[in-house]
Subunit: 189 residues, 2 copies
């Protein structure tokens, strides 16, 4: 396969198309997403779009991988509760951004019959939880948390309620909630 330089035409097309995909998702949601509108907004040919992505799911998947490359910083304040709070607050704020929220809803709407997306999601979250686990690893080293604790599970207890509220219960996602959440998950202050 011919390798394209990041600044080349191919990369510019991809970037324009993914940006247009996010804008169209924000405007009409996944149910209303059309190749026609994305091509128009991105200023590319519809056939280019079909050749490169083929389905809406592939577009969503590519947008997820693109945005997922932006790392959430892992705090290291010396207190697990504080770390979890700062991390959770960043996730909550990010998930509500007008660019990200429609993408998350689109991903959630796609069932596991789409194996490429399911597999990419699994990998994406495994990496993210592994990174977030560092906060718990350090707390174990400091003796703040019992050594038998599963770091990835603790990280999941901070991340999951944020997406549960965003996607399903639509309950408050403010800092006071994240504070209560972090206090419950890391009982030692």
């Amino acid at each position: 396969m011919k390798k394209k330089r990041p600044g080349g035409r191919s990369a510019r097309v991809r970037s324009a198309v993914l940006e247009a995909t996010l804008a169209e998702l924000a405007a009409g949601g996944y149910a209303g997403l059309s190749f026609e509108a994305i091509a128009r907004r991105a200023g590319v040919n519809k056939t280019t779009l079909y050749r490169r992505w083929g389905t809406r799911e592939e577009l969503i998947l590519d947008a997820m991988l693109e945005l997922g490359a932006r790392r959430v910083p892992i705090p290291d304040t010396g207190s697990l509760r504080r770390d979890l709070f700062e991390y959770g607050a960043a996730i909550a704020a990010g998930s509500r951004s007008p660019e990200i929220e429609p993408l998350i809803r689109a991903i959630a709407s796609i069932g596991d019959r789409n194996q490429a997306l399911a597999e990419a999601s699994r990998r994406f979250w495994a990496v993210r939880l592994e990174l977030a686990s560092q906060m718990v690893d350090r707390a174990i080293e400091r003796g703040e948390v019992a050594p038998g604790t599963d770091p990835a599970l603790v990280a999941e207890l901070i991340i999951a309620p944020i997406y549960f509220r965003l996607l399903l219960s639509r309950d408050e996602l403010d800092e006071s909630f994240v504070e209560r959440l972090a206090a419950q998950v890391a009982p030692v202050n």
Copy 2:
């Protein structure tokens, strides 16, 4: 407004339409959901459908309220960890049923601009978390959990990771996961 008996024609139409909606969601997801196909499957007129529900979101909302009326039993085993495990295992199994999963994905895909659905979701989950809180209330009474604990937040820590895995990370939702989850959330066995 004329009151219809539960067994009357109006109730039969509603039940046929909601059943057809779930079947269509299971077949093609929310993005492919059409009034045409639902009307055909339910054996009703498309105009009847439009008159009564108007939008796809209203159909989804009505299906959610219908299925939401089925209560998840609240276990009372004398151990919080065991209660949370049994409750979580029931939620996980239910969420993966071919009838429920596509509905949950459809609900997650709809943004908060649809205020009727957002409001109904808030109420639905507030009731469900309140019911689940009883497990924690009893554990506080037994002295198993500190009195300051927020019962609804503990319930949310069991429920949220299940939907996070279903909708986003697509990680395992088996009983061994729910067991580890319950042990983390209720450290005292």
